[in-house]
Amino acid sequence: MLLALKYTPDYTLNFLQLFMTNRKREKLIELVLAFCALLTVLTTAGILFVLVSEAIHFFSEVSIVDFLTDTQWTPLFAEKHFGILPLLTGTLLTSFIAILVALPTGLTIALFLNEYSTVRFKNIIKPILEILASVPTVVYGFFALTVVTPFLQQIFPSMSGFNSLSAGFVMGIMIIPYVSSLSDDAISAVPRYIREGSLALGANRFQTSFRVILPSASSGIIVSAILAISRAIGETMIVAIAAGQQPRLTMNPMVPIETITTYIVKVSLGDVAQNSLEYRTIFAAGITLFAFTFLLNNLSYWLNKKFEKKYV
């Protein structure tokens, strides 16, 4: 999508030709390619191994029932509670706000670019939209803290300086390109005759867009939303800067909260002794995060397979 392939003369191949027969060369290249593919799989396996082995240590000391049901998370304090729920609600709350911003906006952009705008305009505006995805997240974080929060405080005076609303809102802006780009692909894959059929039956542009095109591209749109959510759940910097550092079981978007990622950052940067129970909490938190994004990614894959409409 974002990549452009360019032809460059391949000197390595010419070099290899001096030493090897064609067949051997093919074999070697095949091996290199297979190794590259394997490398990503091995990395994932390695990460999973570390997460699971440390988490097993953790769960040998803390019961998994407590971990999932306790409503307090205070592993660094004298009275320790290991309930992941406050961190989880923090993560889900910010992600929910983000998708609430990104899905309608991204979808409208995708529909507009496909159904209303000229091709020339689309070609200009799309790369500009992609810039949103390339802004460093730390910049987004400070934008949320120093611009969006003071603005929101004028509307809601009782709002805290650290809160999930402003962090979630800015995170939503960040993931707009994910939604708009993927939805755009899905919408442009809807065949021309469906659009023409709708118009021929007397539907206007708006009806065609929202009643015909949108349902036809629904599987791709759902996938785009899920991938955007999974990006939001894993986002660290924005929430670490703008959402606060106080684990709290709440759905109130005005108060400081703590997400799983923020907690992991806090503990890894601090001076918690390695191999202590406190240290292992970050692996338990990490595996929860991993489970969520893993499930979401698989869900999107499965949905795409199952509901993808085949047009001839």
Binding site: Q72, W73, F77, E79, P157, P256, D271, V272
Partner: protein, 325 residues
């Protein structure tokens, strides 16, 4: 790589000095006394501004000495100190027995040097018009472990305060400020509720309190001084007549005469007995004690008296003579 080049440089310098020995006596003596090397400090974020100021001034005089100052909290700093990774630890509380044992296990002895006083300040948002003073008992009610998830509203603390949720901001569990505060307020060191915004970085706390109408936080006096326009200071009443009656605001006087109780406290640096064999470290420590009075005042702390600094110098010299070989 770096090691190697340093060794080479020293060798080159030695050859150079040997070759031009006796030529110019004045030049040679300045060369020989010119300090070089690295002095590493870490520890309390409260003491950090003083150390940073001293390091800067020291660096102006001794351009070849690199002084680095970290801020990983008093406890975090002592962990590095006991492993011999740093020369000096900034501390906002005294060393604990466990930390002392950890040092001795690595053959490191430590010397405690007092450098200034601090009034741990209780602050709220400037828009908060109901909290002007608070008693130690009320603070305890807010911060003790039993308050967790139960005491959450201003109205639960004092009659007449609003029925809205309060948000607490305070030092993280690795910081000496946390230990000192819990000891003085809760009554037991290292015990407090866990549902508050905890950060080792005082600037995060300032940011939090200054933007949250329902906030209450605590940190060193210097961070209040630096951000006076964004914060409101709260007077603390310990309900003990002998420390002055009524609620008292922290200030240079009230901290010095200890009437701002129980949140007045001394600040320390701890010096590593192994590191003092390096001349740049001893020079830095002496420079630190000699200038702590002026510089700590400049960055918002309360300096000690001249006699007190003189006795710290004496203490350091005795420590040097016992550990010099």
């Amino acid at each position: 790589m770096k090691m190697k080049s340093t060794v080479l440089m020293i060798a080159a310098a030695a050859i150079f000095m040997a070759s031009c020995g006796g030529k110019k006596e004045v030049a040679e003596t300045t060369d020989a006394t010119k300090l070089a090397g690295e002095v590493k400090l870490d520890g309390s974020s409260t003491v950090y501004p003083i150390s940073e100021a001293v390091a800067e001034e020291f660096g102006k005089v001794n351009t070849d000495v690199k002084v680095t100052v970290g801020l990983s909290g008093t406890g975090g700093g002592f962990k590095k100190f006991s492993r011999g990774e740093i020369d000096i630890n900034d501390a906002s509380r005294s060393i604990k027995d466990a930390e002392k044992t950890a040092c001795e296990a690595n053959n490191i002895h430590s010397l405690e040097i007092e450098i200034a006083y601090d009034g741990l300040s209780i602050v709220v948002n400037p828009q908060n018009d109901w909290v002007n003073d608070i008693t130690v008992a009320e603070l305890k009610m807010m911060w003790e472990p039993a308050a967790q998830n139960k005491i959450t509203k201003w109205s639960q603390i004092r009659k007449g305060w609003p029925d809205t949720e309060f948000h607490l901001y305070g030092a993280g569990t690795e910081s000496g400020t946390y230990d000192y505060f819990t000891e003085a307020i809760v009554g037991e060191s290292h015990k407090s509720r866990g549902d508050y915004t905890a950060s080792e970085d005082d600037n995060v706390l300032v940011q939090g309190v200054s933007t949250d109408k329902n906030a209450l936080g605590f940190f060193g006096f210097a961070y209040y001084e630096e951000n006076q326009d964004k914060l409101k200071l709260v007077a603390v009443d310990d309900q003990k007549e002998e420390n002055g009656a009524g609620a008292i605001l922290p200030s240079v006087e009230t901290v010095k005469n200890k009437s701002y109780a129980p949140l007045s406290r001394p600040l320390f640096i701890y010096v590593n007995s192994v590191s003092i064999k390096r001349p740049e470290v001893t020079a830095f420590v002496k420079y630190y004690i000699e200038n702590a009075g002026v510089l700590s005042g400049e960055v918002g702390f309360i300096p000690m008296t001249t006699e007190e600094y003189a006795s710290q110098i004496k203490k350091f010299e005795e420590f040097m003579s016992t550990h010099s070989n």
